[in-house]
Amino acid sequence: MPITYTSQEQVEVYRFNLPTAIFVPLLALFLQAFLPLRFSFFTNFDLPLLVVIFFAVARRSPVSGLLTGATIGLLQDSLTHHPIGVYGIAKTFVGYGASSLGVKIDVENAGTRFLVTLFFYVIHEIAYFAVARWMLSLSLQWSWGHELGSGLANAVLAVGLFALLDRFKQRT
């Protein structure tokens, strides 16, 4: 099975109905805010990021991807006590990058999804840390081990989550 698309192959583009486009990100935000109260390890996961990546690679439109990333990121920012925009900027990058990548490679199989999520998780964290440190002067500690571990955990979760969200995809 080819991983990259050639110019002759038709790239499948999906869309989502409005309730799905609204409630799935809100559900992700809700779970991200609620589950750490019961399971403290859940702070290592980033459900809104996984949703951004899923919508971006499924729609395969960079503009749509970056706007989705910016919106979800800003909403996630508003639950924290930090100034709004840190997650927004990081997820804008991810939304743009994931949708651009989705045009070029097949993101329908589990292996690719795992690698794409791991890659964009690290990109997201780098963008977040850069903005938080240089614009907000937050003294964050970067640990490759921690970030890679969290990235792997998110990638594993993404494989299952994306398979679940595939049910909501509609062909254009």
Binding site: F30, L37, V63, V86, T92, Y96, S100
Partner: protein, 424 residues
């Protein structure tokens, strides 16, 4: 120009969106704290998320209540017995501690001290968190309409949790909820003092979520295990609340010690918290007649001695007195009885003074010498008519109908624990 934009359309939009966000971020950083240009978006998100959180917590509590009220009653009797025993033990301990507290209050009055008292607290349920490792905050189900205001202290029975950062619910459609900044967030700061060494510092959260006590000079000695309390210097947390215990204390890179503190409250497993909604700043009042000593409580449980028939005036003595004739007498029994309801605990040491009152004793007054001076004076009203730990006060004691006879202080119940009361 149009062709350039068309060719790089996606990239242009990306740059534009990023630029807008960076601009917005810079404006927020530039503005003063308190002016909230982004409040609207926060309210939207909180309004969208917190109703579901409240609903889930409500259902969870209902289910839990059903389980605990109907299905989980095995072992309750045993637990009840244990709790009763614990309450008894704590009562005795409380009495001992209240004596110390009373003494401290009297000294504070003498020195003109003022202290803060927690006069009102509001219980709240934790319904959500920020969901981010970099923002250690949580949401509670009480907000503006419940009387919560920014900068109020949030605690549990174990210790300090954090302070209220943002309050929602000022407008009718806003959900009544609040955001609490935890003490392990790096933006938090709590004035703290070490319990034994009385060294003061500032408690801060680190990027890794640890709690660190800062600004303690490197030449000081801080032992692991020492408790950390609030100092009250931050004007948010009242003085003396437990914050945590020292885990490690090492020399830092600068002039200060690097002290890691384990929070007393389990910040990762919070379900219910208390918001301190009102603090009173007042001078401590001295309680003059409300205290009961540990020995009094124990005396309530001592076996009673049967009533003696009325004796001739001037001839009645207690068994204790009879056994120790000629011993120096501290006070007249009449005076003793009169003081029983009025004398504050501070006057108790005077009861131990020997001889001087002996020469001034009035005729017909019975002098008593209990085996232990501790039971000579009762600082507050007798807890019960039949449980009076002092000896009969007058020469002609009349037994009260329906009340058990007085108890000799020399008859301790070996089955009862003996508290370590301070000698008077």
């Amino acid at each position: 120009m149009e062709s350039v934009f068309g060719r790089y359309r996606n990239l242009s939009i990306l740059v534009a969106v990023l630029f807008l966000q960076v601009l917005g971020l810079a404006m927020q950083v530039k503005r003063k704290v308190g002016s909230e240009p982004t409040r609207l978006i926060r309210v939207w998100t909180v309004s969208a998320v917190t109703p579901f959180e409240k609903a889930i917590v409500w259902v969870e509590n209902g289910t839990s209540g059903l389980w605990h009220n109907y299905f989980y009653l095995r072992g309750v009797r045993q637990e009840n017995r244990q709790l009763k025993a614990e309450i008894e033990r704590l009562r005795v301990e409380q009495v001992r501690l209240s004596e110390d507290a009373g003494q401290a209050r009297r000294l504070q009055v003498l020195l003109g001290f003022k202290e803060q008292f927690i006069s009102h607290t509001l219980p709240a349920q934790v319904i959500g968190s920020s969901g981010s490792e970099q923002s250690r905050s949580l949401y509670i189900d009480k907000g503006w309409r419940d009387g919560v205001r920014p900068d109020m202290a949030v605690i549990t029975a174990d210790g300090v949790v954090g302070k209220v950062l943002q309050v929602f619910g000022q407008k009718p459609l806003e959900p009544s909820t609040s955001q609490v900044l935890l003490i392990n967030d790096q933006n938090s700061g709590v004035g703290a003092i070490l319990e034994k060494s009385r060294l003061q510092g500032i408690l801060r959260g680190s990027a890794a979520g640890e709690v660190v006590l800062e600004k303690v000079m490197a030449d000081e000695q801080v032992q692991p295990g020492e408790r950390v309390l609030t100092s009250g210097g931050d004007q948010i947390f009242p003085k003396g609340l437990p914050v945590g215990t020292v885990v490690t204390s090492t020399s830092g890179s600068d002039l200060f010690l690097n002290i890691k503190v384990k929070p007393a409250a389990n910040l990762s497993k919070l379900e219910e918290v208390l918001v301190i909604t009102k603090l009173e700043d007042k001078a401590p009042a001295v309680v003059t007649n409300g205290s009961i000593r540990a020995v009094d409580i124990l005396a309530q449980r001592l076996p009673s001695v049967p009533d003696k028939p009325a004796e001739k005036p001037g001839a009645a003595t207690t068994p204790a007195n009879a056994g120790t004739p000629g011993t120096p007498q501290p006070e007249t029994a009449k005076t003793n009885d009169a003081q029983a309801h009025t004398a504050p605990p501070a006057n108790r040491p005077a009861a131990a003074k020997p001889a001087p009152t002996e020469t001034a004793k009035p005729a017909g007054t019975v002098l008593v010498r209990p085996a232990s001076d501790q039971k000579l004076v009762v600082p507050g009203p007798a807890p019960g008519a039949g449980n009076k730990p002092t000896v009969p006060a007058t020469a002609n004691p009349k037994p009260q109908p329906g009340s058990p006879p007085p108890v000799s202080p020399t008859q301790p119940d070996p089955s009862q624990p003996q508290p370590e009361d301070k000698p008077q």
